[in-house]
């Protein structure tokens, strides 16, 4: 009898332990567990912001967000995935790449979550599916926003494109702001202005189940859309420029010399950025990559070309301003130049020679010997020191990432980079923009703009204003002045520009063909850049040389002469002559901006 009581007492003791535990859990540590329970229940869910739009200077839209229809399948609601997929295939195209991605996602995600099978359904596909919808429970079409470039390949090298965030991009991004964002700028303006364009992620607090199914939204912080960008680009000028090249590869930059606005940013061939947005087909991408003409290469930003004779106005100015030459001093051109005590002949492009030439003739007719001599008199270091004021040899700072700096050679440079002394012959050919000398198109255009505006080195800029979403106010991006080139004598400057005007408008100018019917006055300079070096006695024969090895044709210009509004640099790869190929393209660009400008 007492044993039963004993058992009861020991049972009570156990119960006491249990009560102690409950008091601990429910009273002492209650708040701790309440917090844990809230953490369990409430999840912060990101709402990605809308990406800012991109307009050209006239308000034409270049990058927009379009509703995009995608086909989604919720595996939970599908009895037989295989049958469903093959039935779907009859009405909507499903590529292997879609299938693979779908299967991959399906393994990763919970069964009740909708998984995308196809992106960017066209209207016809949407309609076809809608008619057949009743046959496919668990399959749905949802609308989202997708980046779209309505102008297609126009100015793609400036604009860039967005692509899916990959692991590499993930490392450099602010992961908290990119929660919920699927795309990021991969290059061009889309990449450079990523921060402004992206906006700020919003959040909603949702109550979820252990499996992550949303029960209800508790509260919501809306996202802040990205800023809209207004470019300095003029799509009309851009389009004219791109067409003017015909089948040639090449690059052209047009800049407003008054403020550094980039009016046209051409790199050809171009390509359509739209397929990149949701992952381009492997075959299509391979075709772009393996294309001999390298459409993916951003020539305007990263192409480095010998400036050829386009450097002559700058050289002429260097001679005048440093006092080595004057407008009256002249050189006799027998068709070649020889260093004192050396045998090697440096040929003029005109084998018969130009006779006695002064600066004006030297620029107008592009006499090489005059500039061989001038370069020799200046010496490489003085050339370097003067030309660097025009921005040669360093990046211009344009607001597109990835710019290369070109190369303005000097003795120091050759010693430190090549570990070799400087040879006098290298100075000679630098005088006509050959040898080590390399410029990027954007550098050449910026330097030309500085010639046009009296020596103000403006940083070229391609975005002139941005705008907060849901605001009418534009925040202008101020032009940046790098430096103002000292002009010792205005007369020197005027003489060089007069010579450049004669290049286009005088009877013997190398670009006289474009000047004949021009309604405005143009100052310009032709150039031909050798792709490969000729031996001393070889003669260049365009016909006999494979197109790939043909000279690049260059032309720089600004107009109108009295009040310059546009400066251009045109490089036509393997185009041959600067005057015959590059200058007409430049003329079309100038016309597009100056003559056909809309009211």
């Amino acid at each position: 009898m007492n044993r039963a009581i004993l058992l009861l007492v020991s049972g009570c003791l156990l119960l006491c332990i249990l009560f102690a535990r409950l008091v601990y859990l429910q009273v002492v540590a209650h708040e701790h567990f309440t917090t844990l329970s809230e953490d369990n229940r409430v999840k912060l869910q990101p709402i990605p912001p809308n990406r800012g739009l991109i307009y050209d200077r006239n308000g034409l839209i270049l990058a927009e967000n379009l509703p995009s229809y995608r086909l989604e399948i919720t595996p939970e609601q599908i009895d037989d995935m295989g049958t469903t997929l093959s039935a779907l295939e009859d009405i909507i195209e499903i590529r292997d790449i879609d299938r693979t991605r779908f299967e991959k996602l399906r393994r990763r995600k919970p069964r009740f979550e909708a998984i995308p099978l196809r992106f960017h359904l066209n209207d016809e596909e949407v309609a076809r599916f809608s008619v057949n919808r009743h046959r496919f429970p668990g399959v749905d079409i949802t609308a989202g926003l997708a980046r779209h470039y309505p102008q297609g390949p126009l100015a793609v090298h400036a604009l860039g494109y967005v692509g899916r965030i990959d692991e590499k991009a993930l490392k450099t991004l602010d992961s908290s702001n990119y929660r919920g964002t699927s795309h990021v700028g991969k290059n061009g303006i889309e990449k450079t202005y990523e921060e402004l364009l992206h906006g700020k992620v919003g959040f909603q607090q949702v109550e979820i189940t252990a499996q992550g199914r949303i029960i209800r939204v508790l509260n919501r912080t809306p996202p802040v859309s990205g800023h809209n960008l207004y470019l300095t680009l003029d799509s009309r000028v851009q389009a004219v420029a791109e067409q003017a090249f015909g089948d040639y590869s090449g690059t052209a930059i047009a800049i407003d010399p008054n403020n550094g606005d980039v009016l046209a940013f051409v790199s050809l061939p171009t390509y359509d950025p739209n397929p990149f947005v949701n992952g381009i087909d492997y075959d299509d991408y391979a075709a772009l990559r393996n294309n001999d003409k390298e459409p993916l290469f951003n020539r305007a930003l990263r192409g480095q070309y010998p400036p050829g004779s386009t450097v002559k106005p700058f050289m002429g100015l260097a001679g005048l301003e440093s006092g080595v030459s004057s407008s009256h001093s002249s050189t006799y051109c027998p068709g070649f130049y020889r260093l004192a005590g050396k045998d090697r002949k440096y040929h003029d492009w005109k084998r018969s020679g130009h006779g006695t030439v002064d600066l004006n003739i030297a620029i107008t007719q592009s006499c090489d010997v005059y500039f061989y001599d001038l370069a020799q008199s200046l010496g490489i270091d003085r050339i370097h020191d003067y030309l660097q004021h025009f921005g040669f040899g360093k990046a211009t700072g344009i607001d597109i990432q990835g710019e290369l700096s070109g190369l303005l050679p000097s003795k120091d440079w050759k010693r430190s980079h090549r570990d070799l002394p400087w040879f006098p012959g290298e100075t000679i050919i630098t005088g006509i923009g050959q040898g080590f000398f390399l410029v990027t198109p954007i550098q050449l255009a910026t330097a030309t703009a500085a010639l046009a505006n009296g020596g103000r080195m403006l940083q070229p800029q391609i975005v002139h204003a941005d705008q907060e979403a849901e605001s009418d106010e534009l925040v202008p991006h101020q032009p940046q002045l790098h430096e103002t080139i000292t002009i010792k004598e205005q007369q020197h400057w005027d003489q060089v520009i007069a010579a450049m005007t004669d290049v286009v408008h005088s009877a013997r100018g190398t670009a006289r063909h474009i000047g004949k019917d021009s309604p405005y006055r143009i100052a310009g300079k032709t150039g031909t850049a050798q792709v490969f070096g000729l031996k001393e006695e070889e003669k260049y024969d365009a016909e006999a040389i494979a197109e790939k090895l043909r000279d690049h044709a260059l032309f720089i210009a600004f107009a109108p002469l009295d009040e310059p509004k546009i400066a251009v640099a045109v490089i036509v790869e393997n185009g041959g002559g600067g005057g015959s190929v590059a200058a007409p393209i430049a003329r079309k660009i100038l016309d597009a901006y100056l003559v056909e400008a809309p009211s």
Binding site: G11, R21, L22, Q26, A29, L36, N40, E207, I208, Q211
Partner: protein, 374 residues
């Protein structure tokens, strides 16, 4: 011999209906109260699934009917049948081990074609009955030889069930047998000796445990070491109970339970739902009903008129006590997860039927007492 009116007789006449129906009012009241509370919690644990509650209600109906039937059987009859029940139980266990159906990694079920049946449930009653039967036929307190025989009667089915493996049930069955032996008057020094032996054998037990069982013990000690794996159950149930506080979050309002964070919430972990939604006071209410059941059972044992019924009633009551303490201890993170349901509350059939049959025996013992003092 003259008939002397005893207090029992007067007692019996006052509660006449209980004797006619062979029911015990306090026990019946507590059982109905627990069942009702259980259905309310189950409705919430099932996420408002009324069909779940209906199915449980049917089971409870069957179980209460079973209890009523068993209560009609006089203890004398039960005592006579005991060896047979035990032998049949052992044979069925053997059948399970040979050809039983696996369910959830363990062989517990025997398919008798018309009904799926867990012989281990039957042993919950058969073992204490058998040990009580054996010891009632000997002189008490038991001698060493009788203790050895009792130990064998307990150990054989316990080990067979442990091998299925069903650790929780074998634990209950072992303790039900041990309670009988203890109540029969196990000498204190022997008890002390066995306790020391058991403690010493603990490492040995570890050696015989399966990996998942060891994992459960480790999880008990360090649940946070694997929060999404084996520790998940314990962590989530502690959060549920702890966040319930004194008054709970309210019926159907437990976020842990309603949003699926709490696993097994309508079966083994239903206690956490009660703790979350009804708080400390809800648990207090349940424990009050449980305590009434256990105390009443012990009273029946004390009032029992012969050794067999005294031992059996005491053992059944205490086993029930162990039953709910082990479950609640496991859900609150005091004991390893052994897979025992919360008696009368957890969703599931067989254990309720067995439990209620046990209470039927208690009622039978109470209401079949002789009118004469023994």
């Amino acid at each position: 011999m003259s008939i002397v009116l005893t207090p029992h007789y007067e007692d019996a006449s006052r509660r006449g209906w209980q004797y006619r129906l062979h029911l015990d009012a306090p026990l019946l009241f507590a059982l109905i109260a627990v069942s009702a509370l259980g259905l309310i919690v189950l409705y919430s644990a099932g996420g408002g699934d009324i069909e779940l509650v209906e199915r449980q209600l049917v089971r409870l109906g069957i179980a209460f009917t079973g209890m009523l039937v068993v209560a009609q059987l006089p203890p004398r009859l039960l005592q006579r049948l005991t060896p047979w029940i035990f032998v049949i139980g052992i044979l069925l266990l053997l059948a399970v081990l040979i050809s039983g159906e696996a369910s959830g990694g363990a062989q517990r079920w025997l398919n008798l074609y018309f009904v799926r049946f867990q012989p281990s449930e039957m042993m919950k009653l058969a073992v204490p009955m058998m040990v009580a039967w054996y010891l009632a036929n000997t002189r008490l307190p038991p001698t060493g030889r009788q203790l050895l025989a009792s130990a064998t009667l307990i150990a054989v089915p316990t080990l067979m069930i442990a091998k299925q493996p069903d650790l929780g049930t074998s634990l209950l069955i072992a303790s039900s047998g041990i309670f009988v032996v203890f109540l029969a008057g196990l000498q204190w020094r022997l008890l002390a000796f066995f306790s020391v032996l058991a403690t010493a054998a603990a490492p040995l037990l570890w050696h015989f445990m399966r990996d998942y069982q060891r994992q459960r013990v480790m999880t008990l000690l360090h649940p946070e070491s694997d929060p999404l794996g084996s520790g998940y159950h314990i962590i989530q149930s502690k959060i549920a109970i702890g966040s319930g506080g004194l008054f709970g979050k309210g019926w159907m309002n437990g976020t842990q339970s309603q949003l699926d964070f709490l696993p097994e919430r309508s079966t083994d972990f239903i206690f956490a739902v009660l703790g979350e939604e009804f708080g400390f006071f809800g648990i207090l209410l349940l424990f009050t009903f449980y305590a009434i059941i256990v105390v009443r059972g012990i009273m029946i044992s004390i009032q029992a008129q012969d050794t067999y019924t005294r031992l059996l009633a005491g053992s059944l009551s205490m086993t029930f006590c162990v039953y709910f303490i082990v479950n609640t201890g496991m859900v609150t993170g005091l004991l390893p997860v052994v897979g025992l349901p919360l008696p009368m509350i957890s969703y599931g059939g067989t254990s309720i039927v067995t439990l209620m049959a046990g209470f039927g025996i208690l009622m039978s013992i109470q209401t079949h007492r002789k009118l004469l003092p023994t």
